[in-house]
């Protein structure tokens, strides 16, 4: 509530430094990218305006579509699977009172503090057909025929990258859920038990509704991670074999900085941004609608 005499611009003065930095390094570059997307430009010589050509080209470019589809497939590994596993593990251990929960929590969170480049290098060794423990284990178990050149296999390369995503996001999701579940009133579970609810019914009707906010946050963060993944692809596969693991961020990088197609890359970046915004908005809207319906 504004008191008489208080100056309306006063809060802006405090916000100004942050807004300036945000504007200069975030907002203006976004506008610039948007502008470039309407030009054919190699990044160096004068740009040629081409209208919507870059966008039309992207929508007809099999490699762009393949990359977008790969991003979609990765949402299973980066988002849905970790959340499912996180919920499972949380409901199993959170209320069990087992010793070691804290250590477990720290352990599963560890991948999150590592740089993804380091993660990628380690997994590259794990997967290595030449000296990787994964194939050695399979051969040791007499399952040598299952050994594969994981990252170079047309069918398995994307899932192989996806597994790393699951391993990486699982800890983040689990810690989020573990924190959330502690807010749920124990008396709700007690009441459910007295009414004869099974473990599944307790999970379905007490745990799940109680964790809705956490699930929303986890979904948004992990979906974004699935769409902006770059480092794993760059270190592990360079989008290969063929274009089997090509993703949008890597394709944009290749186009802008290796293939001198800045305008086209900008158009793809705008499309990627729109996809991410749309998915995030959808999730948040649904959550808000559900919250209102419940209220």
């Amino acid at each position: 509530m504004r008191r008489p005499g208080e100056r309306r611009w006063w809060p802006w003065a405090f916000l100004a430094p942050g807004l300036l930095v945000y504007g200069a390094f975030v907002f203006l570059p976004i506008l610039d990218t948007l502008r470039y997307s309407f030009f054919r430009w190699d990044g160096l010589t004068p740009p040629v305006p081409v209208g919507l050509d870059n966008y039309l080209r992207a929508l007809g470019d099999p490699i762009f579509l393949k990359s977008a589809a790969n991003n979609l497939l990765l949402t299973f590994w980066f988002s849905l699977l970790p959340i499912a596993l996180g919920l499972l593990v949380t409901s199993l251990i959170a209320r069990s009172g087992l010793p070691g929960t804290r250590i477990f929590r720290s352990a599963v969170y560890l991948p999150q503090v590592l740089s993804l480049v380091v993660v990628a290098v380690v997994w590259r060794w794990l997967y290595s057909p030449a000296f990787g423990p994964l194939n050695q284990l399979l051969e040791g178990l007499g399952l040598g025929q299952l050994a594969r050149p994981w990252l170079g296999d047309f069918e398995l390369a994307l899932p192989a990258v996806g597994v790393i995503g699951t391993w990486y996001e699982f800890g983040f999701v689990t810690v989020l859920m573990l924190a959330g579940i502690q807010k749920i009133d124990e008396s709700l579970y007690e009441a459910a038990r007295l009414d004869g609810a099974s473990a599944w019914q307790q999970f379905r009707h007490v745990t799940l509704p109680g964790l809705r906010n956490e699930i929303t946050v986890a979904l948004v963060f992990t979906l974004i991670a699935a769409f902006r993944v770059f480092d794993l692809i760059f270190v592990l596969t360079r989008g290969g074999p063929g274009e089997q693991t090509s993703v949008l961020s890597y394709l944009i990088y290749r186009s802008a900085f290796q293939r001198n197609e800045v305008g086209y890359a900008a158009a793809m970046a705008v499309l990627l941004t729109l996809i991410v915004l749309a998915i995030s908005a959808l999730i948040v809207r649904r959550r808000e609608a559900a919250a209102e319906a419940a209220a």
Binding site: L44, S128, P149, G152, F154, A269
Partner: protein, 455 residues
Amino acid sequence: MAAAPRSTVVIVLIGALVATACGFGASGSPTPGSPSVTPQGSPPSGSPSAAPATLLVWDQEVRNAITPVLDQLNDEFEAAHPGVTIERQSKSFEDLKATVKLALQDANGPDVTQINQGRPDMGAAVQAGSLLALDDYAARYGWDKRWGPAVNARNSFSDDGKQFGTGSLYGASLTGEIVGLFYNKEKLTALGLQPPATFAEFEQQLAMIKGKGEVPIAFGNTGGDAIQIYGSILETLVDRAWLDDFIFGRGGRSFDTPETRLAAEKLLEFSEKGYFTRGYEGISYDDAWKLFAGGKGVYFWTGSWIGGDLVQTAGEKFGFLRTPPQQAGGSVLTIGGVGLPFAIRKTSTKADLAAEYIDWVTGDRAMELLAKAGVLPSHGAPGAEGTGALQNEMAAAFAEANSKDEVGHYIDWAGPTLYDAITAGLAKVLAKRQTSGDFVKAIDADYQAFLKTLE
């Protein structure tokens, strides 16, 4: 609803990050009409400036063997030029490629930088008017005698950047490069074999090595390195005129030829016969050469850039030969030439000093230090003899290819999208998801589309 606003902020931030990935260098939006600074009003005078100055130099010589050589050369240059400071910034090849073209448009960009040969990099920079033509300096320092015309052609473009291999000189190179077969001497001797004289003999050896349970060729393809093997095989099959025309974009050549198909089929045949490291599809180049250095593999098909590190880790165990010709004693093209050249930013105000620096880092002293470090020098010089057998073999192969005018090209130089297209295409050929015919047709379509943009 605590989550919503926070995640909205995050969404916007992420969106911003994604979007700005392509907005790098936004402040320098193209200004074609801006007057270019012309530091070279007069031809070089011959008196190096002794005034205090800092020369910003970008290079990509980050490998263990060579990086101290650059440091030492810089120190010696500074010692000989009181007041001059060399500010060295080393980047990986990939990083340099991604940033150098924009940096050259910046008034605070590097005065001297390495830049990859070929149309996508040097060609694009010349087209943008951001590199200084070095013809006057070449005459002054004798660079036309230091390297032959074939080598200098690779560092040359027409002033509009559209004609490759002709016009003005834009760079001078430090290292020599030749792509061929490294081999494990002990293993080859133990198998009773000599370095092969023909490609057919080479193939017989591979079959025999495989039969004896050894890995014939150490190889890893997650980075797309099949392009080097494919290019090497192809260049044993084609003649100089076709290759030069294709690379320099002359004479309306097509990539859809019997030879380009045959090379792809040969690559697939090698894979199917098990001549490559098992699981090569999932092995990286770095891991592959470490396997080879560790004794897993008889041959390793790559460039001399790995030689310095091989010399330093296990020098005497390895030998080097050019990919053998189809006919005994016949002519054969070998991919190679010179390493990334040093070039001068057109707007640099220290062009004279920069040229003197380039003359120094590509001069006789540099060659001597390179040779001592086990790296292949770009030209012969007194005291630049190799320190070991492997190095002498690389140097001999390089000298032979140069003297016979048999130095071939990296095939992806022909157009900006070819590297991606060829590496992805070869992976599909190797996985039998694309026929050799479809592969060469797809590459040709890419190439023809690029030629159109030059018209």
